[in-house]
């Protein structure tokens, strides 16, 4: 197989951007993706089988066929989970990765989010740390992501994000009914509501049309291709250069090393299950936090017997995601307008600055509900079945507003990804094992966020509310077909909630003994391997992390291209 300048593993939010930046700069690139390339025609509007509701499986990968992960609870008990089961902590496996089917909230982090340790101090037992780069370092690349991927919204009423050089390229979608109900209430409480930034076309942009505001949004591929991800923006540009070859259904096995410890390429199983080797000058790992750690740990050699870049046992540590809490409000009138994407109003008043709390998170109304989502979200005391349940569905499906948000986790080095010593996937590759939890303080913050959401809903006129706090989340896990298995994980205190916002496993830092990559995402000790995805996030912000993943990808690619010397990479 022809040698190339760079092989990228994973065609998601980050991998697609790196492919485009490198290919445009003239490097020859092979982009490997374990999943398939879906299109708008694969929307299917199947509310039982998508990336958000997986009753009948994941629509956009991975499939459940011999693809397990092992989850270890605090008692040391092992449980096997399939990709469509919650504790597996799935994101997606397809061209575009999570950005094919995401809700498309495209948030910038706030400056404090890069300085968590120096802002708050690290609580004992945590691994809270500052990023080695700042908001200012990333600001031009946030802007690049907003313009190249395409973001609509309006930050002008948000006093908490630092002034920016340019506004967003598209105005927000017209407000829905929930916005109109929640905005005046937030203002009465002294909060600062504004339009959520969304990677969704509100007007024609990038050669594609605008959002038609349907009911099937978060978790689905967009039927009219108005939702922006790497699959319909940067990856087509990369391919158009003629310098990038995309190979789908190719599962990376390991990164190959030479005698001096430098990477020489990637071994992978192609779509027919045949083992192939792609030799390359640079290897870029962009598989999302859990799988990127797994690939490095599976890349063992004489110089790296416990995995590439893992000399100090740091690969896989500090796994984090988001603690989602909030509240449901029940109203005396219809709040539902059947206009997607539903989520349209947010506040950042509670991200930072509460005395006694180390951070917080953004709060926003939730994406448009499908009936399937209301089944277990009726007012407290409603029976779970029978005539009363059916009547409550009629009474409340159109009269509910949910406000929820991602609480920034306080990471712990004990929350980690390792390799299972015995279980292998269908290609014979050792699978990921997930264990440990984020710091307990995260849950205290999450429960306070839930109360704040409730207060907002009551101010807006809710006649009844229900908290979606930690206790409720734990209870929710005890309902449903996987209840028995999940119940044995006992409560929240067992395993870190990672999932689609997973991050942190290849921490960025200046010290090779306490981090995995340097400030430009280059593996400590192996100068031609880069990890570019959410794995490098030191902390994960109180926001959906995708735009930050994209900004870091542009930032790291910029450095990589500038240091490229034509035939090889010199640091």
């Amino acid at each position: 197989m022809k040698q190339v300048n760079a092989v990228i593993v994973g065609a998601g939010a980050a991998g697609g951007i790196v492919a485009k930046e490198l290919a445009v700069a003239g490097l020859s690139v092979v982009l490997l993706e374990r999943g398939r390339w879906y299109t708008a025609n694969d929307c299917r509007k199947d509310d039982l089988r998508n990336q958000r509701t997986t009753v009948l499986g994941n629509a956009f990968g991975p499939d459940d066929d011999r693809n397990p992960r092992i989850v270890v609870n605090s008692k040391g008990e092992l449980h096997t989970f399939l990709p469509s089961e919650g504790p597996y902590s799935n994101n997606a496996a397809c061209v575009g990765g999570g950005t094919l089917s995401w809700g498309a909230q495209a948030w910038r982090f706030m400056p404090q989010d890069f300085k968590m340790r120096s802002t708050y101090g690290a609580p004992p037992g945590s691994s809270l740390e500052d990023w080695p780069i700042s908001y200012d370092d990333l600001e031009p690349f946030y802007e690049k992501a907003e313009y190249e991927i395409g973001v609509s919204g309006d930050y002008s009423d948000d006093p908490f994000h630092r002034p920016r050089r340019r506004g967003l390229p598209m105005p927000p979608l017209p407000p829905g009914r929930e916005f109109e109900i929640l905005e005046p209430a937030a203002k009465r409480l002294g909060l600062h509501p504004f339009h959520i930034p969304m990677a969704r076309n509100s007007v024609p942009y990038n050669g594609r049309g605008s959002c038609m505001r349907c009911r099937w949004c978060c978790g689905f591929a967009c039927e009219v291709d108005a939702k922006n991800g790497s699959q319909n923006t940067v990856i087509p540009i990369a391919l158009n250069t003629g310098n990038c070859e995309l190979r789908t259904e190719c599962m990376a096995k390991e990164i190959l090393s030479d005698d001096r410890g430098r990477a020489r390429g990637v071994a992978y199983f192609d779509a027919h299950g045949h083992l192939q080797e792609q030799i390359a000058g640079i290897v870029i790992v962009s598989c999302c936090a859990i799988e990127s750690a797994r690939l490095l740990l599976n890349s063992k050699s004489r110089l790296f017997p416990s995995g590439l870049g893992n000399r100090y046992d740091m690969v896989g540590r500090n796994l984090q995601g988001h603690q989602y809490t909030g509240a449901l409000g029940y109203f005396a009138y219809d709040t539902y307008d059947d206009i997607g994407p539903g989520a349209d109003i947010a506040i950042c008043d509670y991200n930072h600055g509460t005395p006694g709390l180390r951070g917080g998170g953004m709060l926003a109304n939730e994406f448009i509900r499908l009936p399937i989502h209301t089944i277990d979200r009726l007012p407290s005391g409603t029976p779970g079945w029978g005539l009363a349940h059916k009547k409550a569905m009629r009474d409340w499906h159109r009269r509910t507003i949910a406000i929820i948000g991602p609480t920034q986790q306080i990471p712990s080095a004990e929350a980690r990804v390792t390799l299972d010593p015995s279980v292998k996937d269908k290609w014979g590759i050792p699978v990921a094992r997930i264990q440990g939890n984020c710091h307990e303080h995260t849950y205290e913050i999450g429960d306070i966020q839930a109360e704040r959401a409730r207060k907002w809903l009551l101010e807006a006129g809710a006649i009844d509310t229900r908290l979606l706090n930690q206790a409720q989340n734990a209870e929710k896990l005890t309902r449903g077909p996987d209840a028995n298995k999940v119940r044995s994980l006992s409560s929240h205190s067992d395993v870190v909630p990672a999932g689609q916002h997973q991050a942190g496993t290849c921490r960025m830092g200046n010290d090779p003994q306490s981090s995995v990559v340097n400030r430009v995402c280059q593996l400590h000790g192996v100068d031609n391997v880069f990890v570019i995805d959410s794995s490098v996030h030191v902390t994960n912000g109180g926001f959906n992390p995708a735009l930050t993943i994209m900004a870091v990808a542009y930032y790291a690619s910029d450095s990589l291209v500038r240091n490229w010397k034509g035939t090889g990479f010199r640091s």
Partner: protein
């Protein structure tokens, strides 16, 4: 203000729905025959009658169709040889237990028991924290309120019940890709 979809939903009363279903052969599929395996992929006809009784307590009929009338058995039956394969034993045992309980208490199969008796048996399954109960509750509600594509929620009857336009109107009729989005 009454929405158009509400009016339409009310027009589709349960009686009309059942009548329409019977014409389409649905009544046959929910177990008028005994013995042979009927049209099911996993269930036998006896099990189908038992399961219909259970599902119809989870989503009973009122002015809108019950679970089995809306095709939930078809949904569960199909998935028991597909995505719910791992639950085959739980279903087999659970349906048998429910039937045994009914025979012991009332001297007849669950399917032949009265509404009140069926409610009592399903309630007992829940109180015993029977793992089968949690499965069948969840699957029934998913079949009833989920997409019609998989056999349940036939003719989107639950969506109409909730006042949702079917086929969806908003975000479609007004869609013109050359202009901005509809508000």
């Amino acid at each position: 203000m009454k929405r158009k979809s509400d009016e339409r939903a009310e027009q589709l009363t349960r009686r009309q729905f059942v009548a329409a279903s019977a014409l389409g052969g649905v009544a046959a599929a929910i177990g008028c025959r005994t013995g042979a395996r009927g049209n099911w992929e996993f269930l036998n006809d006896g099990q189908a009658r038992t399961l219909a009784a259970i599902c119809d307590q989870i989503v009973p009929a009122d002015q809108f169709p019950s679970a089995s009338e809306a095709g939930v058995l078809t949904f569960i039956d199909r998935q028991l040889v597909r995505h719910f394969r791992s639950h085959q034993d739980a279903y087999r045992d659970g349906m048998e237990q429910a039937n045994t309980m009914s025979r012991k208490r009332f001297g007849r199969d669950l399917a032949d028991a009265s509404q009140e008796q069926q409610l009592e048996v399903v309630g007992a399954l829940e109180r015993k924290a029977n793992p089968f109960f949690e499965l069948v509750r969840t699957h029934t509600l998913e079949g009833y309120y989920g997409t019609p594509r998989h056999g349940g929620n036939r003719d989107a009857v639950s969506w109409r019940m909730l006042g949702l336009d079917e086929p969806p109107l908003l975000g479609r009729a007004q869609y013109d890709p050359r202009k901005g989005s509809p508000s």
